[in-house]
C-alpha cells in the first residue's frame, strides 16, 4: 500500500494534493501496490471529491491540527503495512512527518522535485543548502516523501468511488490550542502565483505597499514580503518569502527595495526571471537578477504601473 495525504481547505482538495496523488500513483505502480488516500480533517472534509481519486479513503476527524494528532492518525492508517507515505510538502507536513518517519523508522525524503521507485529503493531529487544545490537521494522502503508544490502534473479522478474507512485514532498527548491567529487571504495565493511582486524594507512604509498590490493585481500575481517587512508589522507573515517563509518559483519575481539576503534568496532563487529595483547599485539582489533598475522605488514603481497599463491597452 502507498498512502497519500490529501490536504484540503474543508470544502475541496488543494492542488498540491493532486500532485501528491500523481507521485503516489507512480510509486504504487512501480512497487505493484495500491494507493490509499488519507483525509485528515478538523471538521468538514471533501470526502466525496477525495474518494473519486482512490480505491480506499481513510478519513479521520481530529479537531484543530496538531503534529501529534496528525501523526497518530497517519500511523493508524499505515498499520496495514504502508510501503510509502506521500504528502504535499508544507511546513506542517514536514513537522508531523518527522514524527511519522521516526515511528516507522523510515527514510524521509523532504520537499522532493521528482521521485521514482527502483529495486526496493526510492530515488528522489531535491534542493539543499538554502536552495543552492540539487541533491539526488535514495532510501530503502518504507519511505515517507513530501512533494514540492508545482513540480508534478495533477492526477485525474479514477471515475469510480473509493471505499470510505473511518480511522479510529487513539488520544495522544499534544499541545492545547489557545487561540488561532488567522490571516486573511486576498487574491492569488503566493505558492501558486505565476507572478510575485515582493516589497522589502526599501518600500519605507506599509502605505507604500498599495503600489505593490496594484502592480501585482495588474500582472495577475501575488504580493510577497521580506522578513524585515513582516517583523516591522507592515505585512502579514503569510506573505513572507524565504527560508522561514514560503518558497516560490514563479515565472516572474519582482523584488522592490529588497537587499537580497541569502535567507530571502532561498525562497525565490528558482524563479524563472528575477527583476530587482533598488537604489543601491551594490545591493546583492542585482547579482541574482535578470533585469534591474537602479533607482528610487517611490519613483520607479508608479512609472512601472503606468508602463504595464500602457502595455495592456
Amino acid at each position: 500500500m502507498v498512502l497519500v495525504v490529501l490536504d484540503h481547505d474543508g470544502s475541496k482538495l488543494r492542488k498540491a494534493s493532486l500532485e501528491a496523488l500523481t507521485r503516489a500513483r507512480q510509486l504504487a505502480e512501480a512497487l505493484g501496490e495500491k494507493v490509499a488516500g488519507v483525509l485528515l480533517a478538523e471538521g468538514p472534509a471533501p470526502v466525496e471529491e477525495a474518494r473519486g481519486y482512490v480505491e480506499v479513503l481513510y478519513v479521520a476527524e481530529l479537531g484543530p491540527y496538531t503534529a501529534e494528532k496528525w501523526a497518530a492518525a497517519l500511523l493508524e492508517a499505515a498499520k496495514g503495512g504502508a510501503k510509502a507515505i506521500v504528502a504535499p510538502s508544507s511546513r506542517q507536513s514536514r513537522t508531523y512527518l518527522g514524527r511519522v518517519a521516526y515511528a516507522l523508522k523510515a527514510g524521509l525524503l523532504e520537499d522532493t522535485l521528482e521521485s521514482a521507485a527502483e529495486g526496493g529503493m526510492v530515488h528522489a531529487t531535491r534542493y539543499a543548502y538554502l536552495n543552492r544545490v540539487t541533491q539526488r537521494q535514495r532510501a530503502p522502503l518504507p519511505v515517507v516523501l513530501t512533494v514540492k508544490a508545482n513540480t508534478t502534473p495533477l492526477a485525474e479522478p479514477l471515475g469510480t468511488q473509493g471505499e470510505v474507512v473511518p480511522l479510529a485514532v487513539p488520544p495522544v498527548p499534544t499541545v492545547e490550542i489557545l487561540e488561532r491567529v488567522q490571516e486573511e487571504r486576498k487574491g492569488v495565493s503566493l505558492a501558486e502565483a505565476n507572478v510575485v511582486v515582493t516589497g522589502g524594507r526599501g518600500m519605507g512604509s506599509p502605505e507604500a505597499f498599495k503600489g505593490v498590490e496594484e502592480l501585482a493585481a495588474l500582472l495577475g500575481g501575488a504580493v510577497g514580503a521580506t522578513r524585515a517587512v513582516v517583523d516591522a508589522g507592515w505585512r502579514p507573515y503569510a506573505e513572507q518569502v524565504g527560508q522561514t517563509g514560503k518558497t516560490v518559483q514563479p515565472s516572474l519575481y519582482i523584488a522592490l527595495g529588497v537587499s537580497g539576503a541569502v535567507q530571502h534568496l532561498a525562497g525565490m532563487n528558482k524563479s524563472k526571471f528575477i527583476v530587482a529595483v533598488n537604489k543601491d547599485p551594490e545591493a546583492p539582489i542585482f547579482k541574482h537578477a535578470d533585469y534591474g533598475i537602479v533607482g528610487d522605488v517611490h519613483q520607479v514603481l508608479p512609472a512601472l504601473i503606468q508602463a504595464v497599463k500602457r502595455l495592456k491597452d
Partner: protein, 247 residues
C-alpha cells in the same frame, strides 16, 4: 530546570559552495553555528536567566562541530555534549543518535532550529519529539514558561496560533523569537574551560545522498539606470514583454 539547545555546524549562506566528485565540498567554506540553531541557544540562555537551572548545548556532527559548540558555550551555555558523527544524516538517524543523550539529560525543554541551512531539512524537531514521546511546537516565535507547562506562539502554513504545552516538549526556533547575543571576550575565555562530553554514534543513515550539484542559474544581469524612472520603466516592461515574454 534544564534547557537544552540541539545544534549543528553548517556553511555560512554567504560563502561560496563548490562541488567535488559530485558532492558538496566544504573545505573552503566558512562554517558557522546554524543561524536557526542560534535562536535555540539564545532562547535556552534567556529561559535559564529568568527561571534558573542549567543550559546545555548538544551538538551533532563531525569533529569540527566542536567549534559551533564552543560558540554556544561562549554565548553562555553551561556545558556541551558532542554526538560525533561523520557525513550526512537524515532526520530519523540524527534523532536516533541524539535520543539517548537527551533521555539521559532529561531536560524540561529542548530547542532546535526550524530548518537546517545545509540539508534544508525541517523535520529534526518532529523526529526528536517522537523519539522522546513528547509534543513538538514548530516555528516558535514566542515562548513563556508557566510552571510545568509552556505557552508559545508559533507559525502554521496559514497564520499562527497560541498553544499551551505540557513539559517536556520540543520547540523549533526561527527568526523573530529573539535576537541572539554575540559571544563576549570573557565569554570566549570561559568557554575554553567548559566541559564538552564526547559521545560516539555509529548508526547507518536511512537516506543516502548519491549526487550533488550546484544550481546557480545564470542570470542575465541587465541593469538599467533609473535616473529617468519613466524611461527605465518603459524599457523594463518592453524587455519583460518582448525578450523574457513573461508579461
Amino acid at each position: 530546570m534544564k534547557f537544552v539547545a540541539v545544534i549543528r555546524q553548517v556553511p555560512d549562506g554567504e560563502s561560496r559552495l563548490k562541488v567535488q566528485g559530485g558532492r558538496v565540498d566544504l573545505s573552503g567554506a566558512t562554517l558557522i553555528l546554524d543561524q536557526m540553531d542560534e535562536y535555540a541557544v539564545e532562547e535556552a540562555l534567556r529561559l535559564k536567566e529568568k527561571h534558573g537551572g542549567e543550559a546545555v548545548v548538544v551538538g551533532f556532527g563531525p569533529e569540527r562541530t566542536e567549534e559551533a559548540i564552543r560558540t554556544a558555550l561562549a554565548m553562555g551555555m553551561d556545558r556541551g555534549v558532542h554526538v560525533v558523527y561523520e557525513g550526512y544524516a537524515d532526520p530519523v538517524t540524527a534523532a536516533e543518535a541524539l535520543a539517548p543523550v537527551l533521555r539521559e539529560e532529561a531536560p524540561s525543554l529542548i530547542l532546535t532550529g526550524g530548518q537546517q541551512a545545509d540539508w534544508d531539512s525541517q523535520a529534526l524537531g518532529g523526529a526528536l519529539a517522537e523519539a522522546l514521546g513528547v509534543p513538538v511546537v514548530a516555528w516558535t516565535t514566542v515562548l513563556e514558561l508557566e510552571g510545568a507547562t509552556a505557552k508559545a506562539k508559533h507559525d502554521l502554513d496559514e497564520g499562527a496560533e497560541w498553544v499551551r504545552v505540557p513539559l517536556p516538549a520540543v520547540f523549533t526556533t526561527q527568526q523573530g523569537l529573539n535576537e541572539p547575543r554575540y559571544p563576549t571576550l570573557p565569554g570566549i575565555m570561559k568557554a575554553k574551560k567548559k566541559e564538552i562530553k564526547k559521545v560516539a554514534f555509529a548508526g547507518n543513515p536511512r537516506v543516502e545522498i548519491l549526487e550533488e550539484g550546484i544550481q546557480e542559474k545564470a542570470r542575465l544581469g541587465k541593469v538599467l539606470d533609473g535616473k529617468d524612472p519613466v524611461q527605465a520603466a518603459e524599457e523594463l516592461v518592453r524587455l519583460l514583454h518582448e525578450e523574457a515574454k513573461v508579461i
